[in-house]
């Protein structure tokens, strides 16, 4: 298993894909982070005199810190990047037919699947570190410039950022499960984008509004946000009914999605003939 994991790590880091995705995620987060930092700074300045109608104080957790809320977009908006690296690490093998060499080097297919999942975790962590750094550094400067506390002096912020990294890490593993299940690269990308950008956000919005829809908090995106513990979705959708999951439980729920996808793949297509 160790050899297979080392092989998979080498595969992940030896093409341009990972840093292209990390760069895209970082750039996206940096722009969004700076924009949000300005919005929150202006709101903080105006807060005493007027209510802007964007009421972020109505959550059960009380008023989230503007800095934390800004930093939270790391997990809630950019999780698609570690998810994609995990997914593509599998679908590329089928696309370029390198899966032949992979299964020849390690004929025990369950070992290959486990190795891919394990190897994706450090990759998720590295991408998370890059994305979080790209988000936090400019946003913190904006807060500092506007005289709003940027939270970098508080342990709570750093614990939060640590949980964001955990979120990225687990998402990469979920991606491997998704890739193993779908195998076709184009189909996988379409499904990942459709689900993360449309299907799940809609379900979570409905979950926040409808009675009996509290199960939506077990959806992967919701679980991922619960790992961080703070999320823009929660703040805007005004969820106050369900008690939030602890980050440990949330990580387990998200990991269960990844393991579940991989298990279904293994039970169905993973052991098929490769020709």
């Amino acid at each position: 298993m160790r050899a297979a994991v080392r092989s998979e790590l080498r595969k992940l880091f030896s093409t341009r894909l990972w840093w292209v995705l990390a760069l895209s995620g970082g750039a996206y987060l940096a722009i969004m982070g700076v924009a949000m930092a300005f919005v929150f700074s202006f709101e903080a300045a105006a807060n005493d005199s007027a209510d802007l109608g964007f009421n972020i104080s109505a959550t059960s957790r009380g008023r989230p810190d503007p800095a934390l809320l800004t930093y939270s977009i790391a997990g809630s908006m950019a999780y698609v990047f570690p998810l994609l690296i995990g997914t593509l690490s599998v679908t590329q093998e089928f696309r370029h037919r390198t899966i032949t060499g992979t299964f020849t080097a390690e004929p025990r297919r369950h070992v290959v699947l486990c190795a891919k999942m394990l190897a994706s975790l450090p990759m998720g962590l590295v991408m998370g570190a890059a994305c979080v750094a790209a988000l936090v550094s400019p946003a913190a400067l904006v807060f500092a410039g506007q005289g709003v506390p940027n939270g970098l002096g508080s342990a709570e912020t750093w614990a939060f950022l640590g949980r964001a990294l955990l979120d990225f890490t687990v998402w990469a593993g979920v991606g491997v499960g998704v890739g193993a299940l779908l195998r076709n690269q184009v189909a996988a990308i379409v499904v990942v984008l459709a689900v993360t950008q449309f299907v799940e956000p809609v379900l979570r919005m409905l979950g926040a509004m409808l009675d009996g829809w509290s199960w939506t908090r077990f959806l992967p995106g919701a679980a991922g946000d619960a790992i961080q513990g703070v999320s823009v979705y929660d703040a805007m959708a005004d969820i106050n009914s369900a008690e939030p999951m602890g980050f440990g439980w949330a990580a387990l729920v998200l990991a269960a999605w990844g393991v579940g996808f991989a298990a279904i793949a293994y039970a169905t297509t993973w052991r098929r003939d490769v020709s």
């Binding site: 390690e106 004929p107 003939d273």
Partner: protein, 296 residues
């Protein structure tokens, strides 16, 4: 030693390989021949555990491929479709295989040097020619210094110099006592490289022997000339022989023994100036054995 034992593989309604058995022995180069679509690649893929056989199995020194730990140290395989990620360099490609073969970067550079790609080690494979990809596939197969080599169409895409290089490499591997099985759809390309031939057509074994014994399967061929060429032509036409005419009026006749030709000429009252038996070509023997045995 590689033993293919009563191997069958069916894809839906198509029987790709039917009850195929043969052995590739140590220290010898075995050619696995057959027209395109005759089941060669299916057999190799089944041997490597990539396909599940419908029946039968393949053993490497008595063991199934799936039961061998670190298979790259015992069996080096390069499949025709052996594909590479275009964005990965040759060295990185080998480094992804290095853990499985339990070798270090030094060995990766060594095999790249061996196949003549040392100068291209850090180039992305996407820019490689067919021949260079073939060489990289061989480098990957040699990485773990295996005792058995399985090479699918190793001369594909190689220039004449490359084919000669490949021939020497394969001979050297067998001389070191390794088992080498190479597949090809062209006997001519491997004729001078191999010790044994295994020929399949339509997924079935049609011939297995040392290459020297293959010649017997060629059609008899004779060169014949007469004092009266038009009369000879009339005889050939009457008899319905398969003849090829030379500029000097002689005919190369296939499918008839010299005795048969001599008798017919005598009966027709022809004076022959030449009647010689010709060694049938290996390629011809191959075509005879596999006639119509390609894609169904």
């Amino acid at each position: 030693m590689i033993q293919v034992r009563a191997l069958s593989k069916r894809f839906g309604q198509v029987n790709a390989v039917i009850d195929l058995s043969f052995t590739a022995r140590d220290g010898r180069v075995t050619a696995f021949l057959g027209p395109n679509g005759s089941g060669k690649t299916t057999t190799l893929r089944a041997a490597l555990g990539l396909l599940k056989p419908t029946a039968g199995d393949v053993l490497f020194d008595g063991r199934h491929y799936q039961d061998i730990r670190r298979p790259a140290r015992q069996i080096g395989a390069s499949l025709e479709a052996s594909s590479f990620h275009p964005g990965r360099t040759a060295l990185d490609h080998l480094l992804t295989l290095a853990p499985g073969a339990a070798v270090a970067e030094e060995r990766c550079r060594e095999v790249l040097d061996l196949v003549g790609l040392a100068g291209q080690a850090n180039r992305r494979v996407g820019g490689y020619s067919m021949g260079m990809r073939g060489r990289l596939g061989i480098a990957a197969a040699l990485l773990g210094d295996p005792g058995t080599l399985l090479l699918d169409e190793p001369t594909n895409g190689l220039d004449p110099e490359g084919i000669s290089w490949m021939r020497n490499l394969i001979r050297a591997m067998a001389a070191q006592g390794r088992t080498v099985l190479i597949s090809s759809h062209l006997l001519g390309e491997v004729e001078r490289t191999v010790d044994d031939v295994v020929i399949i057509a339509r997924g079935q074994l049609v011939h297995a022997s040392p290459i020297a014994d293959l010649e017997r399967f060629g059609a008899p061929t004779a060169v014949v000339a007469a004092t009266d060429p038009p009369a000879l032509a009339a005889l050939v036409a009457r008899a319905g022989w398969d003849a090829q005419w030379g500029a000097d009026g002689s005919a190369l006749i296939r499918g008839v023994t010299p005795v048969g030709i001599g008798q017919a000429a005598f009966d027709a009252g022809l004076v022959l100036t030449q009647l010689a038996s010709q060694k049938p070509g290996l390629e011809q023997a191959f075509f005879r054995l596999t006639e119509g045995g390609g894609l169904q």
